[in-house]
Amino acid sequence: MSMLKHFIISLCAVVAFAACEVIPEGERSEPVVVGETRRVVLLEEFTGVRCTNCPSAARIAHDLLAEYPDNLVVVGMHGTNTGTYGEPFEGEQDFRISEVNEYFLAVGGTPTQGYPCGMVNRAVSDNAIDPDGILLNYDVWATEVVRALLVPPVADLYIERVDDASLPDSVVKVAVSVESLEAIDHQVSLVVELVEDGIIGSQVDDGVTNPNYEHNHVLRTVVNGTWGESVTMPEVGQTSTPREFEITIRDPWVKDNCSVVAYIYNSETRGDVMQAAILPLGEASTH
């Protein structure tokens, strides 16, 4: 019986040790303030028109854009990597492009990976779906964006519209330049993309198909190749000679709804986006 008493006491000790923490209402959250910064973070979401939870993720991205309009670039990527998430609805546009499949595979995406998922600056995170991976569930996008914003940029990017009367209306020309803010000791690559907002089409949203859903930040094309091109970073405090890119606006894209996105990343890790920029085609420059 003495042994029984000892064991019951031990059991109670285990239970007492195994505490439970209840957070009362009013104490469950606190506001966060991120100071002024030149950092522009890139949030890329893998999404699909038949992905029922993707609109929830898109709303989180939208909230973040509202919070940090000058410090966040969002790109919505539609690929064919996971089953039927991206299958277009009959008679509607197919948003899928092959470059997205390459990005997905490069960050460890598999056919069983559920959508939505995303990447913030294509950086490795302890919040990733796989340990020390890159792909993130959308519940941690805000966390990762804030973390990235708190890190000062090592470089900056500028995009300018270039007026060229010789080009047809369907072609736009932009010039992209980079500025070194700190010394950089690795190879750097530049990617230029075109995204489009305001595309009305069908989307499955929490089990219901909405035929009038507004698709935003849809990645239409990667202008200079899937993985971009190598750039030589200038001396600290200097800005590089601008590189020009001609972008053809193809049917049914709407030029006024399009924006040019540019970002630079670490070529050696094929990730770790250092800075991003976005220029709506209705504006002249990101300066």
């Binding site: 966060v32 069983t112 804030v146």
Partner: protein
């Protein structure tokens, strides 16, 4: 491939040694098992395989070894999963010895140190287990103490870190990475019939059980946006859960009532709300020779309980909610398997079996077995609450009336089965099933059907007919054939399936099968296999196509992508 074959050869030699060692009367015995499944994949884009594979050879191999003596048992498992079979999450790949333990027992006490599996009650608050086809292994690494201090009293206390794929690396070789959380728990079971002789004499049994589990996970930064700006959540580091159960039985009757409660546990699964979770289950059954029935009901609400709050997929679950849908073995009946929804559901299940005795009009010469089963699962009625910034995160999420049903049916399954022997050499089984399966809820998306007469929708409604024939002319030769038909106007439409199996001399089995989609893809999923058993060994070689779909067991499912190629499986127990 060369390294794999060398390792496999060592495993086979070890198993041979173990077979020689495993003799009764020895002080220490070595036992174990070796299981290896190999695939040589081929590209077949017509059925949706990837357009390339990174490796020419994929395999899952497991070697379990156990040393047993009167007072001590020790075991370890070697896993070779460098290039796992298709469909497993990328973090599943790896190789090493992720499971080892030592158990000592003396009189009323048993202590296990290392990796172990455990379940409290029905698993509402704790179930760590291994299910290889589903890639589930949520073993706890730590210690477990079991004490039977007196007859009818069983006490357990445990604590440890939960396995999540290969979270043991060079900086964390023993897996004790506290930054990833810990699980602690205790369980008490009292069997009253052990103390009250009159109960035992009259075949009454009464069990009372109580359990408590707590998980610890350090707080992390989780932010959410809203109209009031960015907010950071104040997350609980300790989350506790309790379970109470009563099980009463008398003769063929058995009644189980169980209730579980989980305190606030904001996580990715529930959208970071602070609502407590609960589960309640009531089950009654009766069985006697020739007949049995079962009815049960369960309501679970916000009972996803993981050791990692940001985890998705099938990893890091501390608990397991019992499945209330039947696990079907016939191919077309298993085409739309239901996965238990962790955010909540009402579930009902009933089953009745009856054997018409031989010599009766419906029993005939050899008797007739009948079975009727039904499952019905529905969403909960939820009224959502908006909090800071107009979002749900940080609030209690929703209110839910206990008996309230939501708008969505999740699953319905009614099936009738008859098995009858017509001759000493011949018997048949016939089954009809009506099924409704909410594809959007279970799979996350609805397939937009593309065939004449299609009526696409979230609910896939199917009528399924199955006929199985077994013919055994002599004791060493047996034949089995199946014909199955599935009719639906949703998803990919109608399917038909046929199988023929020949078994010879109890050791050799040859099988061919084909599954064909009539309406949309019009693809054949053929397969041929040969299996041979000798003693404790079994080897199977197969070639063919595998359809993309879901592999489910106990309400937990894993997506399996389409594949084609040669598969070789070998297993041995020693």
């Amino acid at each position: 491939m060369k390294r794999f074959l060398t390792t496999l050869l060592c495993c086979v030699l070890l198993s041979a040694l173990g077979t020689a060692q495993a003799q009764e009367g020895q002080g220490v015995t070595l036992s174990g098992s070796l299981q290896t499944d190999m695939l040589f994949p081929e590209v077949d884009t017509l059925i949706g395989t990837p357009d390339h594979y990174d490796a020419n050879f994929l395999s899952n191999t497991f070697l379990d070894l156990t040393l047993s003596s009167q007072y001590v048992t020790a075991g370890a498992r070697l896993e070779l999963l460098n290039n796992p079979l298709p469909g497993f999450e990328s973090a599943y790949a790896g190789a090493g010895i992720p499971h080892f333990y030592v158990t000592g027992r003396y009189k009323m006490v048993e202590l296990t140190v290392g990796d172990f599996y455990e379940q409290f009650g029905s698993g509402f608050i704790l179930r760590s287990y291994e299910d290889r086809p589903l890639a589930i292994d949520n073993a706890l690494r730590g210690a477990r103490l079991s004490v039977n201090p007196y007859k009818g009293i069983r006490i357990k206390a445990l604590g440890g870190m939960q396995r999540k794929y290969w979270n043991f690396n060079s900086s964390n070789g023993f897996g004790f990475d506290y930054s990833k959380g810990a699980v602690m728990g205790a369980d008490l079971e009292l069997s009253f019939e052990e103390w009250i002789p009159q109960m035992m004499e009259n075949d009454y049994r009464l069990l009372f059980g109580a359990s408590y589990v707590s998980k610890y996970e350090p707080e992390t930064d989780i932010y959410f946006g809203g109209v009031d700006g960015l907010q950071r959540l104040n997350l609980p580091e300790f989350v506790g859960a309790a379970d109470f159960r009563i099980n009463f039985s008398k003769g063929g009757w058995n009644v189980l009532a169980e209730y579980a409660y989980k305190a606030n546990d904001p996580s990715f699964d529930n959208g970071y709300i602070y609502k407590p979770g609960s589960a309640v289950m009531l089950s009654a059954s009766y069985s006697q020779r020739g007949m049995s029935f079962l009815v049960q009901a369960k309501r679970s609400d916000n009972m996803s309980f993981r050791s990692s709050r940001s985890q998705s997929g099938s990893a890091a679950f501390i608990n397991n909610l019992p499945a209330f849908s039947m696990t079907h073995t016939y191919a077309l009946a298993a085409m739309y398997p239901y996965a238990t929804q962790p955010d909540g559901e009402w579930a009902f299940q009933a089953e009745a079996r009856y054997n018409f005795k031989r010599g009766t009009p419906l029993g005939g010469k050899y008797g007739t077995n009948t079975r009727i089963t039904a499952s019905y699962i529905h969403s909960l009625d939820k009224e959502w609450i908006r909090g800071v910034g107009g979002v749900y995160q940080g609030t209690d999420g929703y209110t839910s009336k206990f008996f309230g049903f939501g708008d969505d049916m999740y699953y319905l399954d009614v099936n009738v089965e008859i098995s009858k022997k017509l001759h000493r050499t011949f018997q048949f089984t016939a089954m009809y099933m009506y099924q409704i399966y909410n594809q959007t809820v279970v799979e996350g998306h609805m397939h937009e059907s593309n065939f004449a007469g299609a009526k696409p929708g979230d609910l896939v409604k199917s009528n399924i007919a199955i006929l199985e024939l077994v013919y055994k002319p002599i004791s060493k030769v047996g034949m089995r054939a199946e014909v199955q038909y599935l009719h639906t106007k949703q998803d990919r439409g109608q399917w038909v399936y046929a199988l023929y199996e020949l078994s010879l001399f109890h050791d050799l089995m040859i099988e061919i099968s084909d599954m064909y989609n009539i309406d949309e893809t019009k693809q054949h999923y053929y397969k041929a296999s040969v299996a041979y058993s000798w003693g404790a060994h079994r080897v199977q070689v197969a070639y063919g196509r595998t359809r993309a779909g879901y592999n489910c067991s106990g309400g937990v499912c894993r997506y399996v992508p389409a594949s084609k190629g040669l598969t070789v499986s070998y297993n041995v127990n020693f």
